[in-house]
Symmetry: C2
Subunit: 222 residues, 2 copies
């Protein structure tokens, strides 16, 4: 029997999202909790990457996870097995999370014993890019089967992220994925993007990603 809470989060239509997001970030700073917003297409490997990330960092940081989904609980059930604190957020059909919904999630998760909170956003490259959740950093996963041209087609997502994980690099040859061309497209939109190729299935590259995330978290909460 799963133990995690399931929260129905509701969007606030009356409030200014950017202001709400700034307020939330200030509170996170005061409370010494780092919030990562993890975004991608459906099926790019967010949950598997998250499991690897937790394995790599759970002995050093106290981690809490918020799994956002339209209405299933499968990801929260997977993450619960890693032993970290997890809650499931249901958006009731909404295609993204805003700062108000993220705050409801954090209040239900409880951040007093969490150094690193991770929000696994809805699988969608469009809408989540338009709403500041209040996260300290935005990460996205692009998986190799999606193709190296995706920065051309979903430019806002690639513009607002701080780090890009290129996942499933074990199948690069099968899909004629051109890593250099992908980086070129990304850096044209966002010269500061950190790009880390990984294979969440085998663990390749996960150490570099975990090192980056640990450093960001420790800088924020110290």
């Amino acid at each position: 029997m799963s133990e995690f809470k399931v929260i129905e989060v509701k969007q606030s239509v009356m409030e200014n999202n950017d202001r709400k997001a700034e307020e939330l970030r200030k509170e996170l700073k005061a409370n010494k909790t780092f919030l990562l917003n993890l975004m991608s297409s459906p099926g790019s490997g967010k949950t598997t990457t998250l499991r690897r990330t937790i394995e790599a960092l759970k002995d050093e940081l106290r981690i809490g996870v918020m799994e956002a989904d339209i209405d299933s609980d499968v990801d929260a059930a997977t993450i619960e097995k890693t032993g970290v604190k997890v809650i499931q957020l249901h958006t009731g059909g909404m295609c993204h999370l805003d700062a108000h919904m993220t705050r409801q999630g954090l209040e239900n998760l409880g951040t007093e014993d969490v150094d690193l909170a991770i929000l696994e956003n809805i699988g969608n490259l469009v809408c989540p890019a338009e709403f500041d959740t209040g996260a300290v950093k935005n990460a996205m996963i692009l998986s190799v089967p999606e193709g190296h041209d995706k920065p051309l087609k979903y430019p806002l997502m690639f513009t607002i992220c701080d780090v890009l994980l290129i996942n499933k690099i074990d199948v690069m040859e099968v899909f004629d994925f051109d890593l250099e061309k992908c980086k070129e497209y990304v850096w044209r939109l966002n010269p500061n993007m950190k790009v880390i190729p990984i294979c969440a299935k085998t663990g390749e590259g996960v150490q570099e990603w975990a090192d980056w995330l640990r450093e960001q978290t420790l800088n924020w909460i110290r």
Copy 2:
């Protein structure tokens, strides 16, 4: 130099979308044009599948394509090479098309010499499912690397579609994709869904899909 038109389509906030969609379908019936709305995640192979579909049907049907994108033109440029009529729709950041936007597209495409119009919707499994475009049939592509559990996570999309193409079946073993489990999840949501496994890259399964689409089109326009 590309010859296709690029149209900035705008959402109508004042009108009832369902009513607009019904009106559009009636006009399409009167004008003998079948409209297919093709949806999927980013990178699932919509454009490659569309190229194969055009190859299979262009000698029998007069085809017109509307490529919807946030703001790139790469897909329209690809489709233009097939020789069919194509226009590019830009949604200006919008994550889906509604009936009003689709109408603007069709007016610019011109349907008087089109038997089969195909709308390639924005790559997104959430929002496009919520807006009736006025299409006669909805098709979606799920690609194998996305995983067989996607019907559980994006149920509305799988509920509103008439046909599901499961693409990239050449890599089923690499990704431990369970086709029978996927069908079971799909049919639990939508017992009438037609499911066709394909590989757009090699052409496998495309004949069955083209046969289905030809039959639907001829039934509508005769």
